[in-house]
């Protein structure tokens, strides 16, 4: 479903600030895989997701989605197959537009946009039933401006918008990080529910190790632009946080506990 082959990215090449953000990344996701990604700050997690979404292009290496090579495809063409939720709750929605208009924009993701009304009765019904799944009572606020919603509500809406057109790939970059614990849990549960319902191939970055262990069927750990650890479907169910810490020490020869950010809450 998704294949990354030999992806490399260097920022500010040839200057004092040169930074190898990705160093020969190889990753293969089968249809329906739900891979959680952990790693310290600056490990290259977001950069990897940006490569897949097309927000950044690799220096070399190839990206294949659904058997199609997309390495050079611009972001807006690629996003036809890719659903995304950002860390910033403000990033995934248009604040001055209403809930139904935001949903209509998401609905047109994999269709040609024309001079039809973005919101018609049939779509409205579909939006309403989709929103009901969130249990946030948003289905009764279709005409509310999204800017008025709370961060958690916005993130739930973003998640719905990213998933309800059944993209080939779903990319989540710390999408619960900006929320308080109870909201974060709500979004985590919704993520689980929506991914399972639509059987989406998913890549989720998180700093919360427990979340990384609880969700998904595979896990990868990144450090300094490399994938340093892969836990497969067979081993994932029995994985614990101490397991991950010992593995890290084993590979890097240094203690991981010094990196508070990786532990999360």
């Amino acid at each position: 479903m998704l294949k990354l082959e030999g992806i490399n990215k260097i920022f500010n090449e040839g200057t004092m600030d040169e930074k190898v953000a990705l160093n020969n990344i190889n990753l293969h996701l089968a249809p329906g895989d739900f891979v959680t990604v952990i790693g310290s700050n600056g490990a290259g997690k977001s950069t990897m997701l940006n490569m897949i979404s097309g927000a950044l292009t690799p220096d070399f290496g190839a990206i294949t989605i659904d058997g199609k090579e997309v390495t050079k495809l611009p972001e807006f063409k690629r996003s036809q197959y890719i659903g995304r939720v950002f860390q910033d709750p403000m990033a995934g929605t248009a604040p001055t537009m209403t809930i139904e208009e935001n949903l209509a924009i998401a609905y047109s993701r994999n269709k040609k946009r024309g001079l039809r009304f973005g919101v018609n009765r049939e779509r409205k019904d579909f939006f309403r039933t989709s929103l009901e799944k969130l249990s946030l009572n948003l289905e009764n606020r279709l005409n509310a401006k999204v800017g008025l919603l709370s961060g958690g509500e916005r993130q739930a809406l973003s998640l719905l918008m990213a998933t309800f057109t059944q993209p080939s790939i779903l990319l989540l970059d710390e999408h619960t990080a900006a929320l308080d614990p109870s909201r974060a849990e709500l979004i985590t549960n919704l993520t689980k529910q929506l991914v399972e319902e639509n059987n989406l191939t998913t890549l989720m970055v998180t700093h919360n190790m427990q979340q990384a262990i609880d969700l998904g069927n595979r896990l990868i750990m990144m450090d300094k632009g490399q994938i340093i650890l892969e836990i497969d479907e067979a081993k994932k169910p029995t994985l614990t946080i101490p397991d991950l810490m010992t593995e890290f020490e084993h590979i890097r020869g240094e203690k991981m506990s010094s990196d508070k950010a990786l532990l999360g809450s």
């Binding site: 063409k77 950002f86 403000m90 990033a91 924009i105 047109s108 024309g114 009304f117 973005g118």
Partner: protein, 344 residues
């Protein structure tokens, strides 16, 4: 008095189309487009030139709209593909259009390459054509008698012009409302609201920016072509300060009528344009003001319209905070008395 206000309303309704164009860029696309000063004249020049060459006024107006559309797209291309800052892209296009507009008007006469203005005194215009259909109906006399019976000293020569411009502007306003709710329209609005978001929903933001600018300047040129036909005159300098007038109209309208829905917002822009023209006419009646002071007055109107709402909301904030403080104080005092009662 009545006559000058009446004339202002007529003009305001025509300028409202330009203001809708400005609304589309400044508000919807969040793109401060300064092409307007140039594309307004492009519309006027193109229509006037073609009318002088003998084309039907409707054809001339349509071509003027297309010319404005192209000018807007050029600004969009400069910004998106040429990566030129939005303000600079607009200014560059505006300057380029100055020369182009002189050339366009130059086409109207033999033996000249450029021409700074065109007179349409004896030519057919959209308005004279409509008059040909309107006058025989005899409604003008009836309406004028009615107005005079209400105490107006003089009645306008015809009511046909205000009717036709009203029809045109209402149609344009409704078309804009419809367009901004279509799939393409939603994408353009989202492009102005959150580029990153709309890109992640497979929209080419470059293309929507260019399209939005094209449509905006098409409206501006349309307005320019109508003003040229209304005043029977096209001049290369008639667009100076047009962007500020457009902005003033948008801001005045929004301040008075609000922006709750698209329908309200575009209606506000139309009324804003008319109100601006009335203010303009009233200012001209002040004895010690010269018509050349109008640009200064326009600038002051825009500054006031931008600053006053800030002051108002600050004042409101202050009042609210003060009220909360008093409530808090009262609650605490009540708590203390209650505590005292409990103890006793």
């Amino acid at each position: 008095m009545f006559l000058s206000i009446f004339g202002s309303v007529e003009q305001g309704i025509i300028y409202a189309i330009m203001a809708l164009g400005v609304y589309l860029t400044f508000r919807v696309l969040d793109f401060p487009d300064l092409t307007v000063d140039g594309s307004f004249v492009t519309g006027a020049a193109t229509a006037a030139m073609m009318i002088v060459l003998g084309y039907h006024p409707i054809i001339a107006t349509l071509i003027a709209i297309v010319a404005g559309f192209i000018a807007g797209c050029m600004t969009g291309l400069l910004h998106t593909k040429g990566k030129i800052n939005a303000l600079l892209a607009g200014i560059l296009m505006q300057i380029a259009l100055y020369s182009i507009n002189l050339r366009i008007m130059g086409f109207s006469a033999e033996n000249v390459i450029v021409k700074p203005n065109i007179q349409l005194q004896s030519n057919e215009t959209i308005f004279s054509q409509f008059q040909g259909f309107w006058s025989p109906l005899g409604i003008d006399t009836a309406l004028s008698n009615f107005v005079k019976s209400l105490g107006a000293s003089a009645a306008p020569g015809t009511w046909g012009t205000v009717l036709i411009v009203l029809i045109i502007t209402v149609i344009i306003k409704l078309l804009a409302d419809w367009f901004l709710k279509t799939e393409v329209g939603l994408a353009i609005r989202a492009t102005g609201d959150n580029k990153r978001m709309i890109r992640s929903f497979s929209a080419n933001t470059d293309r929507y920016t260019i399209l939005g600018l094209g449509i905006s300047n098409a409206l501006v040129a349309f307005s320019g072509s109508l003003i040229a036909q209304y005043s029977k005159f096209s001049d290369v300098n008639m667009g100076i300060g047009m962007i500020v007038i457009g902005l003033a109209s948008v801001i005045i309208g929004e301040a008075i009528f609000g922006t709750k829905t698209i329908f309200r917002a575009t209606l506000a822009v139309v009324f804003g344009a008319i109100i601006y023209r009335i203010i303009y006419a009233l200012a001209l009646r002040v004895p010690w003001l010269d018509s050349s002071d109008m640009k200064l007055i326009t600038a002051i109107i825009v500054v006031l319209a931008l600053v006053i709402p800030q002051l108002v909301s600050k004042q409101r904030d202050k009042k609210r905070k003060e009220k909360r403080r008093l409530e808090r104080l009262r609650e605490q005092r009540e708590l203390v008395t209650q505590g005292g009662n409990d103890l006793a």
